[in-house]
Amino acid sequence: MTDSGRIVVVGAGHNGLVCAAYLARAGRDVLVLEANHQVGGAAVTRELVRGFKVPSVAHLLQLLDPAISRELDLERHGLAIAKPALKTVALSERDEPLVLDGNRVESGPVSAADRAAYTDFIDRMRRYATVLGRQHGRVPPRLAWDSWRDAVPAGLIGLDIRRLGRTDMREFLRVVTMPIHDVLEESFESPAIKGALALDAVLGTKLGPRSGNSVFTYLHRLSGANVAPALPRGGVGAVSEALAAAARAAGAEIRLSSPVAAFVVADGRVTGVRLENGETIAAAAVVSNADPKRTLAGLLGARHLEAEFARRLHHSRAIGTAAKLNLALSDFPEFRGLPAPLRGERLVIAPDAAYVDEAFNPAKYRDYSRAPVFEITIPSIADPELAPAGKHVLSAIVQYAPYDLAGGWDAQRDAYRDALLGVLERYAPGIRKLVVAAEVLTPLDLERQFRMGGGHWHHGEYTIDQFMMLRPVPGAAQYAMPVAGLYMCGAGCHPGGGVMGAAGRNAARVVLEGASR
């Protein structure tokens, strides 16, 4: 740290806010610059239409690090849970829905053998996921293991795997790179279970259930403290508001509507930022919550990087496939076979694994799925303040809708919305008539509105080749960038996105250590 000591955090996404809060609590002079007019990045609640508020992008909370809630005292800063531990209800056009509660099949069209197998499967996967979970709070080692500083953390990963015990270790190593489809085929016979689990494995990725690595992405989902997601009161945006409150209380300043145009580089060091309005702000360190490509190739510029590093970054995969459908509804939609007590749970449309795989196929060829998978919440049931009395908001993540759609999204967004409503209509007849307002956010819209490169929710695919010391790319995986004075703290860093906050917390630690080279 030099002279002024001010640290500029670029982007008030949840990781940026976490990082800012920790830096401010450590006594640093912190300024957060956010391009949008509210904090949260993609963890944001917006008014869809007068009186209807909806979590615009992320809508569930599952991976938020409990240490962060505790250390930043987020409850005191306004974080409340409207509904914890949501059940998963897999909808069906014909049968009764499948209801999954934690590691238990509550009801549904599955065999007795599968009921037992499900509990065993979830417990087993949770054990495997501890290997990933133990890495969340660690700064990944560098791949050049020429010092103990790097060799020890690398060895710890091996030790974590070894700690699973002989049987689990062998099984973990066997399945971790496999397609979830193969593991599901080994474990279950009922299509409904396989469909619901296949969806969990691939949500937010450009993977199908038959893609390698989809067990790994499933384990990532289970690697936090909670086996099931929760609905925060006020939508996921309320998490960001609580984080912002915690950061402000610690002394951080947050400036909204202040998009950064570029970093200022002098003598091979980032010395500040230039805003789009031309204003320049000096900084002893800049911490970017933006995605890696925007941060390094965009705001910094490839010319300040090494050529091979720039190529690696260029080839890192970040093509978003998840779209968001937000609806304001005049009444509660009646889903086929869905009993009233389950209305506020997590509803999914993924009747079997083959359906999920076929939904993925068009994305490979830059087309969107006509029979997509859905993850639906109706948060206004548990949190009535989101909508006027008797009315509701529906929030759905829909796959697959590739960022690089052939022909472009601007010409096809309306047709896509109609296609989605058509699918919903089959599961909830009459829903179209209830729609007061509809918002479709394709990956292109996510890029435009939330500046996520490629519209990728996790700022880059979360697969083993882009995991930990490979995330986003070797040479940038320890939060400190190759250019002095620059750090990253976003979902593009270890341990990724999903409203975890761990990247922001780890980054703050590195900044405070002054580990910049």
């Binding site: 091979g268 190739a297 510029g301 490839a302 010319r303 300040h304 990087l305 090494e306 050529a307 091979e308 590093f309 720039a310 190529r311 260029h314 040479g475 190759p482 080279r517």
Partner: protein
């Protein structure tokens, strides 16, 4: 010429001078240089070398890889690519340079020809298009390989300027080292740069391939009374060792080909510190080279004056305590230095000028092997460096 997509199918290529080089090659000694058929020697290696050092010689360097780099960011791109400050290479000037990978290890060396504002030619030993395109990410620059679009001859030696005067290039003697100038020639344009790979006064001649043969013919007419001879790669190799120039794949392993990290060399380790400019903007390898400067280099390239008359081919190099500290990368009996000379790579801290080292030389006489441990002295500067190489106006007779 095949379509670009089928480029790889054409495995035997001839240079634009082939009709002339094949007529002159009475030894029928050839080798393959980037798929092109080039002469190793024409009539006698020793005599070709003697012509080069005492009169003038012509070498067909058409197969040398040439890249055209242009566009608004051409200078910024080149400055990020190579270790020296390209802004200092003014239009119509040429600069020797090296470029490194992210770890500061040399990928290749070459020459940058500043043809016009924002328009450069980069000549290199190895094909570099992949690395150039990689390095172009984020730059507004156009890069293409133009190896086959330009025919080139090296005209080197004490009488080379005189030959060009006879050829009819007015004022050629005033062309400074590393400068270039174009002349109308046989209905085309001949570009002459005062550059070369022999360490002597010399020029390189650049022309469109359609005019290659007429250039060759006129050059030899002009050189008739100045001892001009064609020379092949063997004679060129001798001259470049005497001049102390390094060659990719011989004196260093191009970093992009290395599997083992200790096999590559940084510019500092190749005695090219003068090419590394930390004051200019960022370039690939800068951070690693700064770190190397702080921590010290692993190796040093040295020029050895080897006792006796045996070329120290592939010899191990020992210190005075009989520890192996390196190896010879190229060696020869130098007629100009009247000595056995060698380039070698040795471990630091060895190799300071004046240090006494030993070369373990194996040599053969009529299939019988013998061994000698020859005392070597680390030499400062090249073995051959005549003042005329730098004089302007150049000696014209």
């Amino acid at each position: 010429m095949r379509a670009p997509r089928e480029h790889h199918l054409q495995t035997v290529r001839y240079t634009p001078f082939h009709s002339r080089t094949s007529a002159a090659n009475s030894l029928n000694l050839w080798h393959r240089w980037r798929d092109h058929t080039v002469s190793d020697a024409y009539f006698d290696v020793g005599l070709e070398y003697t012509a080069l050092r005492n009169a003038a010689a012509v070498f067909d360097l058409s197969p040398m890889t040439k890249h055209r780099i242009s566009g608004p960011d051409a200078l910024a791109f080149l400055n990020r690519l190579v270790t020296r400050d390209v802004a200092k290479i003014k239009p119509r000037r040429v600069g020797y340079c090296v470029w490194c990978d992210d770890q500061g290890q040399v990928i290749d060396d070459g020459t940058i020809f500043h043809l016009a504002e924002g328009d450069y030619r980069l000549c290199s030993q190895e094909r570099q298009l992949d690395w150039l395109l990689t390095s172009a990410l984020g730059f507004d620059v156009t890069i293409r390989e133009e190896t086959e679009e330009v025919a080139a001859l090296a005209l080197q030696g004490p009488t080379s300027c005189a030959v060009l005067k006879v050829l009819g290039l007015p004022g050629i003697e005033n062309l400074a080292p590393f400068a270039m100038q174009s002349f109308p020639f046989a209905g085309s344009e001949l570009t002459v740069s005062r550059t070369g790979f022999t360490g002597d006064l010399g020029y390189e001649l650049w022309i469109d391939p359609a005019h290659a043969e007429v250039l060759w013919d006129r050059l030899f007419e002009a050189g008739e009374n100045h001892g001009l001879k064609p020379m092949g790669t063997f004679a060129l190799e001798m001259s470049r060792i005497e001049a102390g120039f390094i060659q990719a794949g011989v004196d260093f392993l191009p970093a992009d080909r290395a599997i083992r990290t200790d096999r590559t060399r940084s510019p500092f380790e190749l005695d090219l510190a003068w090419l590394v400019d930390f004051k200019k903007p960022n370039f690939t390898g800068r951070r690693a080279l700064l770190e190397e400067q702080r921590r010290g280099s692993r190796f040093r390239l040295v020029r050895l004056d080897v006792e006796g008359n045996k070329p120290a081919k592939d010899a191990y190099v020992y210190d005075s305590k009989r520890n192996v500290i390196g190896a010879v990368t190229c060696s020869m009996w130098s007629p100009m230095a009247k000595a056995s000379i060698a380039l070698a790579s040795v471990k630091m801290p060895h190799g300071a000028p004046g240090e006494e080292l030993w070369a373990e030389i194996y040599y053969q006489k009529e299939l019988k092997w013998s061994r000698v441990n020859a005392r070597c002295r680390v030499q400062k500067g090249p073995f051959f460096d005549p003042p005329r190489r730098r004089e302007t106006p150049a000696p014209g007779r």
